[in-house]
Symmetry: C2
Subunit: 482 residues, 2 copies
């Protein structure tokens, strides 16, 4: 994988720019040809987005970014490159002309691929010098993040070119899906187009707005489709009877006006057989029960991710979380700052909660406490906050997925710049599962360095500190390892 | 929110069971009526799945689970409940009969709702005693996790019943989408049905298998739909020109055979206007640039979540991560166990990496080190592992999204049951950003308690320990807080 790779990107819009970004961030050198004088700016904007997000997918460093060069001639852009990706406007004659010029200068072993959404490769290669070198590699926006690329050879495409495109797509982290028979719109755009046509009907007929239609997708079926597609979802809906049961139940609705798109296939025994068998095969030996758990874990993980961006299903969860939480009464006892379950997605190969989530829970407790002393979102907006500078954890008990836990927070010291907390993580039956000791420093968010808290916060934190002064020094506080 | 709520679930299959589970886990009492003798088993299975996953969505404890009671008569099930949800088979005459019996015994203020996938509420309420009490509340499988519920009143449905259903749906964490005009299939099933019909064509015509079609969805458009739906996705694809530009580009393809479903709406100026205006409104003042970043953060978060389950796009990423990593050469220096970027999703309200991810990175380093000494997946399968019992972190520098970091691992003590590690987290320019000191204990996974490591591991860890003995005691090791 240390071989130096390079690609030519012909046409640098949203799609071409996305390809360029994916190649570059995977360490490839990229030559761009685009007569648009704005192309350099447009690609640099896509690249900026990609730099911000693509490496974030990985838990390992990607190679050093490749070199980006803009060329005024196709000849110079394609010379000596291993992959040439055409993303010019969707007009057949333009594409054919571009392919002709590419083939005048490209290596004969290079992959020459089109990003076309709908043209068949046997249309694109009409009149080409070497039609065997041309195929479709259809990506999805944003190209730098979404893994899917549909690989569509024409009957004339050489097997070596087809296989090479699959191999190279994997090298840049994509999921190449070989489309075995070329067809207008390949596979995925046909599905998208079907949904899109019905969506336009709904707007046209005044049934729903674009936002309502999008909401119906992103709060519902979209979350299923993001991990299982449509057949596996319905296979699961069939329960123990699988796809046959589902088709028996919902087959008749194919004839019903559940969409305006009424050109439906005949649900023959043969089609039922094919669909049912392929779905069973696809399950790869998993029972519906096992598959349900995979689905549920995927859904929980994705929806928890959307909580972080406070978007779609995640925003709904955040509102509910907020409604479930009420600030505890404060007295001279340690304060109950967290009461929560252990998510299944927090466990690791030892089948218990991973060590890092002990700190995640304590961090949630610290945030709640900071909210209680007035170091809340508004305070942060005003330019002040607390940063943790030191943490000491004792992991005393294993925690399993689904267990209910609580955290209590005790102030050891809360004067001036320093905030010293001691927290206990307990199970429902009050076993001590962990302790967390935390030193926080009050900072100015402008200078990013220590400063005295504002009086509004200082007064409250001092009260808490004085109430907790009377408590015994917690067992385990001030401990060192070793 | 402490008011005690209750619901009746009439029909306890996958959908009815999902409703029961969602109500129960949100603290509601639930009465179930289902003549199927298997119903109790089926619901208990759905409930088991739900208990495992639904609380995992939250970072706050849900109320104590409600009481589940099975009834032999509809009369007993619906009496004194605030929400009655019908999920019997999709046959109009059965549903009408059930509604009649429900209304003989239900409170007049109770919400009486159908889970029907396709019937209109004005079909369901034919011949009902109080048609104003009946509407559709159409959920999505798994009902206990997916937030969407389509609220479809008939022209006769009372506003009070409609509003009450919306209010109650929110209380159990759902996203109620009010469907303003009743229509066969409501909104979402129409979209699903359109996609489904085209998918069946693709299988019927031998273009693709069910698995290939599902892959084209879950590796591509499905990830977009899970957070933005179809209009917002295409609005973004239009770049600075928005939906108008997108429609100018892809409008013509509505007439092309990109799907077999050719009954398309006419793309009149009026429809273009409506779609473009609604999409702009939906963007709520965000520029395409801002929206792209939201989309990218959502995609990164969801795909990272799928890495945990090693599924779909996440499995593709894991393979790539693996290919990017090669074990470091080992000598008498601390070992470079991690080299990685800081994901955008790891930052918090202070605009820097949240404290808990310091431990997540050190945990990754520890895992890599354990792999190097042979305490790998195979060793764990054989019944042994290491558990962390104590952690000490110094957070020395803020880290920003996108920064490249590395971790080095030094063995302080590695004899017998104890493994004492000291790790340094450094930025690309070698600033020390954090240190992590970790005490691990070797355990038997059967007894979950300490034991000596197997000789294969013991020999390697002793070598490492002896190589690192000559290194100076790290600055910060053995430190306590305060």
């Amino acid at each position: 994988m240390t071989e130096k790779m390079n690609a030519a990107v012909i046409g640098g819009g949203v799609i071409g720019g996305g390809w360029a970004a994916r190649f570059l961030i995977n360490g490839w050198d990229v030559n761009v040809y685009d007569p648009d004088p704005e192309s350099e700016r447009k690609i640099s904007e896509v690249l900026e987005n990609a730099r911000r997000s693509l490496p974030s997918l990985y838990d390992t460093a990607l190679p050093a970014e490749g070199k980006l060069v803009f060329h005024a001639e196709i000849a110079d852009a394609v010379r000596d490159t291993v992959w040439i990706q055409e993303s010019v406007p969707e007009r057949l004659e333009i594409k054919q002309k571009v392919f002709s010029e590419i083939q005048d200068h490209a290596e004969e072993t290079a992959v020459i691929a089109s990003s076309t959404s709908g043209f068949k490769p046997s249309e694109l290669n009409q009149g080409a010098k070497r039609p065997e070198q041309i195929l479709v590699c259809h990506p999805f926006n944003p190209v730098y993040l979404l893994p899917l690329v549909e690989i569509v050879p024409s009957p004339k495409t050489a097997a070596s070119i087809r296989d090479r495109s699959i191999e190279l797509a994997k090298r840049i982290g994509m999921y190449p899906l070989l489309v075995r028979k070329e067809i207008d719109g390949h596979i995925n755009d046909r599905l998208q187009e079907a949904l899109w046509r019905e969506a336009l009907w709904l707007v046209n007929d005044g049934i729903a707005t674009t936002e309502e239609i999008d909401d119906s997708v992103r709060f519902g079926c979209g979350l299923r489709w993001a991990q299982m597609g449509t057949f596996q979802t319905f296979w699961l809906a069939g329960g123990e009877g699988g796809m046959r049961h589902f088709l028996a139940q919902f087959g008749p609705s194919l004839k019903w006006p559940w969409t305006k798109l009424m050109n439906v296939p005949e649900l023959t025994d043969e089609l039922i057989d094919t669909v049912a068998k392929q779905c069973d095969q696809q399950a790869d030996g998993m029972t519906p029960r096992q598959m349900e758990r995979v689905r549920d874990d995927n859904l929980v993980g994705m929806m928890r991710a959307l909580k972080k961006t406070n978007w779609g299903a995640g925003a709904t969860l955040n509102v509910h979380d907020q409604a479930l939480w009420s600030a505890p009464k404060v007295n001279k006892e340690p304060i109950e700052t967290v009461r929560r379950p252990i998510p299944q997605s927090w466990t690791d190969y030892n089948d218990h909660m991973n060590e890092s989530h002990y700190l995640e829970i304590f961090s949630q407790a610290t945030d709640r406490f900071l909210g209680m002393i007035g170091a809340d979102a508004k305070y942060i907006d005003s330019g002040y906050s607390y940063f943790t500078v030191e943490t000491h954890l004792r992991h005393l008990e294993e925690l399993k997925a689904g267990e209910q836990v609580r955290v209590t927070t005790q102030v050891i010291q809360g004067a001036g710049k320093k905030l010293h907390l001691f927290q206990r993580l307990e199970t429902e039956d009050r076993r001590l599962a962990a302790t967390g000791e935390h030193m926080l420093i009050h900072v100015s968010l402008k200078t990013r360095s220590a400063c005295e808290p504002l009086e509004s916060v200082n007064a409250v934190v001092s009260d808490y500190a004085s109430w907790h002064t009377g408590l015994p020094q917690p067992d385990g506080a001030g401990r060192a390892i070793g």
